[in-house]
Symmetry: C2
Subunit: 332 residues, 2 copies
């Protein structure tokens, strides 16, 4: 049995998305139970529409919820100990839940998760890992925005944490890990990336295979299982890829609706387009994972729908089932 | 009349691509003359196949050419004063040419361009600017890899140089300029980006409009005319976008060839697909531009074909015609 705690008030739509999302995830994983945290006036009427989910859930009323635009410091001041976000995280700390999923604002969630769960003993800083669709399947990219800048030791930590996540999610014994870099020779700076390469090589790790440097275009190719970078570059790479995918989808839509013959062609090829849309669907890989904390925290996109939130729960389910935290503790 | 000097030996294919590319560009711009630098044994037989181009060109034999894998320091040692790369740049310095185009290796080209042309008096560091296709047309993104890291003053320089390039290429009087950043509040680091924002605001510039911060997904949207960032992040964003575009093209190809009906649909919609391919064609926006030097240097992709090289010449032509260097000198 996997026990998942949910911040029902998180995200742009709160219970309207989180509860139907949980119901979908329950259909796929009947061995899940939920602990729900939220305002009962908003949550219980919706929960009542999903009797199967209700039967597998325990609900806790929380008066306070964290706003999507609240600054982390403000959220901590106002919502510590009492908000649905805090209490859903705390359930992992007390061992009542195996994993927590929230679509709430990233900064506040990270601040509360750090404060409540604490960083693992051997890890300097937590990271946010994204699951990146590639031509050869999926890769893990971290950090995509937990902190800005990272020294060589922190990049080494990211390599180990990303490796542990790849083992849990993709079931690869020794994931292939690359460091994101630029291909230009003899330019100054980014000494920490070069230094991290040396550290990883010299550590002689048996939990990962170190590939070396990768470049931006290796992300989509899926050259390695885990791509390591600091949070500023990682966040910009992630959003650039999302933006490019949307841009091309828009070009495609415009091209296909331009002439009658193109429209007819589109109708005939609709099955193929649906497969493509499915491949490109950002909801499919919804769920950033906070790594390096004493507990698993999954961040869903704030603007996602029930299908996307269910996908974030799926990620949490897989990670909890494969005992990521335990493995991380043991192997790092 | 615009006078363009070409490093005929640059790129993966050298004269086989550069000479046909120049011939194509000449068809589009009959007011161009060329100064060609290369090994005559390889160049002259090809040039002889393009009599129109030959009539508008002066050819100079150079025994030495810079290899695509040569390190900048090595290229400088071996090729300074004598290589086709150096001499094509020198033609801009001596005023014989308005602009130089090379498909040679980026590091060597930048090293030679800096050494030969020197950085402009008020500019600390040159930058490489890319022309980025967007949903609303094209934007300029810099730096995409000239140097790694940039302080606030250098980012301000990039804003001014990118603004001048947007004026020359897009003919916008006051280009809208944004600073690339991440959207997470209250995280440490990247103080230089925040500081650059303050500097630009306080400078009260009348040559650009300052938009504020943009994120990775604003690149494809075309939120601003000019996106400013340091070279590490810029290079990774550029390659990530290129990689994502190739990834989606591959998904599309696979989806369309999967069933007979999809193939039929593809045939009907072929015109639309061709338009899409045209939009996504990286050759169309081929040409990184070195900014901040006393002369215009255009870097074409090393692996491009004649059409792509002609597009790089087009960029050089537009920039020279709009007197970018002069404007830059006056306005910065």
């Amino acid at each position: 049995m996997i026990r998942i705690s949910l911040d029902v008030m998180g995200g742009d739509f709160g219970p309207e998305v989180v509860i139907p999302g949980a119901a979908k995830a329950l259909d796929r994983h009947p061995d899940v139970t939920f602990i729900l945290y939220g305002q009962q006036e908003r949550c219980l009427p919706i929960l009542a529409q999903y009797p199967k989910l209700q039967a597998k859930s325990v609900f806790h009323h929380c008066e306070v919820s964290v706003g999507m635009d609240e600054k982390p410091s403000q959220a901590l001041r106002r919502g510590r100990y009492i908000s649905s976000m805090w209490r859903s995280i705390e359930a992992v700390k007390t061992g009542q839940a195996d994993v927590v999923v929230s679509a709430g604002n990233t900064g506040a969630l990270m601040a509360m998760a750090k404060f409540c769960l604490r960083t693992m003993a051997t890890i300097e800083r937590p990271a946010i890992a994204a699951i990146w669709p590639t031509l050869s399947g999926e890769s893990i990219v971290l950090d995509v925005g937990a902190t800005i800048g990272a020294d060589a030791q922190q990049l080494l930590d990211f390599a180990l944490m990303g490796g542990a996540m790849a083992r849990a999610l993709f079931e690869i014994e020794r994931p292939l890990v690359g460091l994101l870099n630029v291909g230009v020779e003899e330019i100054k700076g980014q000494e920490e990336v070069k230094e991290a390469g040396r550290l990883i090589r010299e550590a002689g790790l048996d939990t990962i295979d170190y590939f070396g440097f990768v470049e931006g275009d290796d992300l989509g190719k899926g050259t390695v299982d885990v791509v390591v970078t600091e949070g500023f570059t990682g966040n910009i790479a992630l959003k650039t890829a999302e933006g490019t995918a949307r841009q091309i989808a828009e070009y495609l839509r415009a091209a296909m609706s331009r002439t009658l013959v193109a429209k007819l062609g589109y109708l005939l090829a609709k099955g193929a387009f649906d497969r493509l849309r499915d491949k490109m669907d950002p909801r499919k890989v919804n769920g950033g994972v906070f790594l390096g904390l004493n507990g698993i925290v999954i961040k869903s996109h704030g603007g996602t729908d029930a299908e996307g939130f269910a996908a974030a729960i799926d990620v949490g389910y897989d990670m909890a089932r494969n005992g990521l935290t335990q493995k991380n503790r043991k192997r790092i």
